[in-house]
């Protein structure tokens, strides 16, 4: 502990209150101490506080309060610690270990953002916290977080890569199949990256036990079964489509045949008409001749009625085909509608999430504002007290002078 720190009245107060286990008062002093800091001395003050807490019994409890009450927020804390030496940084991280194990929800919301920090020390620090979290009560199941950690395996800094491997091993002990799936998919994305392959091998070797392999195999088998089912259904669908197409073609052929038949019939009828006209013009009317046209007329009438029947049939079939076509279109539209509905549902969930996040950040802001107001209030009260004292002293002096 520095001499400067030993002389510091706030630090002395913190120590005294810690001895008496007045943790709330300690938190308030620290909040004021850090709140009064300038840009230049904030880091020094933060370091003094951290050093003091690290050494004292109950320091972890106070630190938890500080994080809970947002006096210290994890992202800026890690960023600030990154500017200091590794001894302080790692000692502090170690101080957070039990908190990570027991209350991971204090850290997990920031993890993904911090993994994308520009500062490699911050990336390493958050990975270390994830190692601690994975060693705790709750297992990490968030696929996108595991994916983000997996992305850190390709980090430009070697020490971040090592820490990412360590984190994945720690998470993978609880969730071998999930981690295996994500890291193997990641390797497939970069098939030429040998180092990535080696690291992935290493992680898999570390996390997979005999039971784990069985579990993974079972899951893979289940996935394979699902895949087979899906492909079978796809085949069926394809078959049905082909059948529909066949039927369509058949119908078209039938239409053509019917049209051809209709044309042939018409041609026949026309021929007959021509013959009749020719006979009427060439020969005078005889008994037989008079009888002949009657027959023909009958035949014609019959044929005409046949043609009409066939026309009706054709129209019926046309209607049926149209009906089937419409039904198919309807089905397709229904499927499309379902897909759109699903998409809408997903979007709605996303919107809800965003709204909740916004609400959270609004609440955080409100909390911060409240704290600032409290501080201002305290300062005002202090000022008022001082002013009162000043006026009282003035009055007293005036009285004395009067006397």
């Amino acid at each position: 502990m520095s001499e400067k720190q030993q002389d510091n009245p706030e630090i002395s107060k913190i120590k005294d209150f810690m001895k008496d286990e007045r943790f709330d008062d300690v938190v308030n002093i620290i909040a004021l101490y850090l709140g009064d800091s300038t840009d230049e001395n904030y880091l020094d003050r933060l370091e003094d506080v951290i050093e003091t807490l690290m050494l004292l019994h109950g320091g972890r409890t106070v630190l938890r309060f500080l994080i809970e009450r947002l006096v210290i927020d994890i992202p800026s804390l890690l960023e600030n610690l990154s500017k200091r030496d590794s001894v302080l940084r790692y000692s502090f991280l170690l101080l957070l270990k039990s908190m990570c194990e027991d209350e991971c929800e204090l850290f997990l919301p920031y993890s993904e953002d911090l993994l994308n920090s520009e500062d490699p020390n911050v990336r390493e620090a958050v990975l270390q916290l994830l190692v601690f979290i994975a060693g705790g009560e709750k297992s990490i199941e968030d696929e996108s977080l595991i994916k983000a950690i997996t992305d850190s395996m390709s980090d430009e800094k070697d020490f971040v890569v090592k820490k990412a491997i360590q984190a994945l091993i720690a998470i993978g002990r609880d969730k071998p199949s999930l981690v295996t799936k994500i890291i193997t998919n990641n390797v497939k994305e970069f098939p030429e990256n040998k180092e990535l392959k080696e690291s992935t091998d290493k992680i898999i070797r570390s996390i997979v036990s005999v039971e784990g392999i069985e579990e993974i195999v079972e899951e893979e088998e289940a996935i394979e079964d699902e895949e087979v089912e899906i492909s079978e259904k796809e085949l069926e669908l394809k078959k049905k489509k082909i059948e529909i197409q066949k039927k369509k073609l058949e119908l078209q052929e039938k239409e053509k045949q019917l049209e051809e038949q209709f044309i042939q019939e018409k041609e026949k009828a026309l021929k007959l008409k021509e013959d009749i006209i020719d006979q009427e013009t060439e020969k005078p009317l005889k008994k037989e001749d008079v009888e002949f046209p009657k027959k023909i007329k009958k035949i014609m009438k019959k044929e005409e009625s046949d043609i009409l029947d066939k026309e009706l049939e054709l129209k019926k079939k046309d209607l049926e085909i149209k009906k089937k076509k419409l039904e198919l279109e309807l089905r397709e539209k229904e499927i499309e509608q379902k897909a759109i509905e699903r998409k809408e549902e997903a979007l709605r969930i996303k919107e809800e999430l965003i709204e909740k996040e916004n609400e959270l950040s609004r609440v955080e802001l409100e909390l911060k504002e409240r704290k600032i107001k409290q501080k201002e209030q305290k300062l005002l009260e202090g000022e008022l007290e001082r002013a009162e004292e000043f006026f009282e002293e003035g009055d007293r002096e005036n009285k004395e002078n009067g006397k």
């Binding site: 001499e3 690290m54 590794s86 001894v87 302080l88 790692y90 000692s91």
Partner: protein
Amino acid sequence: MPLTPEHIDKFITVESDSKTKAELLELLNERIKKLCFEECERDRILCTLSPLCSKRFLLKLRMLNGLSVEDQPKFCYSVHKNIIQRDFRNKTVIYKPFDTYLYLIDFLDVFFHGDYRKLNKFLSKGDIKAAIEIFEDRIKNRNEEFQYFLTADKNYIIFKFDEKIHIIFLNEKYALCNANRENIPNLEILKALIDLFSNLYFPEIERRLIPNDCVEIKTYIPRDVLNKTSQEPPENDKNKKDQYLWNTFANELDALSQFCKEINLYTDKKGNLKIKLHLDVNNGIRYRDLRLVFNIVFRLYNDFYIIWI
């Protein structure tokens, strides 16, 4: 019974076949390399908070054998430097960095941060005068509290920051920080340390270097004090001088005898009791031992010598 380190130590001492010895030592070397560059640095938290070699002595092993900073495990060395820096600034450290070595430029960076490039340039080129000007400027104009002493042959500069002793080895281009349990390597440093402490705490006491032999420190207890000392052991604590001469002095002479090559006690012509100490480096006197010698000499000087002068 499995193989123990003692067996290996004995084997290296006894074995005459140099090839076998070399093979064994190569095995050890490979193990050290793996330990430092793979196992320990694999996890930076582990390397920072609980290094795999105690107090990072393997850094010292490389440094004392003339290896450069490029041959050191980088992160481990940076933590090592950080720890010395934090200790210098009285901040909490994982272990007290006693008897630790730093490369010259890093030593200057830790203890003389603002001027370290200039100092490194001057000291590397042998321009000690220019370096001393900077030290003087820092003491006189920048209110820095430290003492320094350039050794007689200008091979070393000794610094005293509060109670901590640091020594720059100018030819080797490294520095020993917080000298404590290390042996004092030569008479040049021993004499410089005695001069530095004498100047600060017992300036009138005689001291001289007997070349290639030892450093002599001469003090005395005046005749008047001796005459006033009771002839029988004191029965109470009233007279502290009596108490000291009857009860403590003999023990202190005994303690001194562990670190001195010779102790001469005799009365001079004026009847004063002369105490002559011969200190050498052949018996492995450590920096902390010298501190004990200084404490005894300081007491004799403060309680008897200075009053009578």
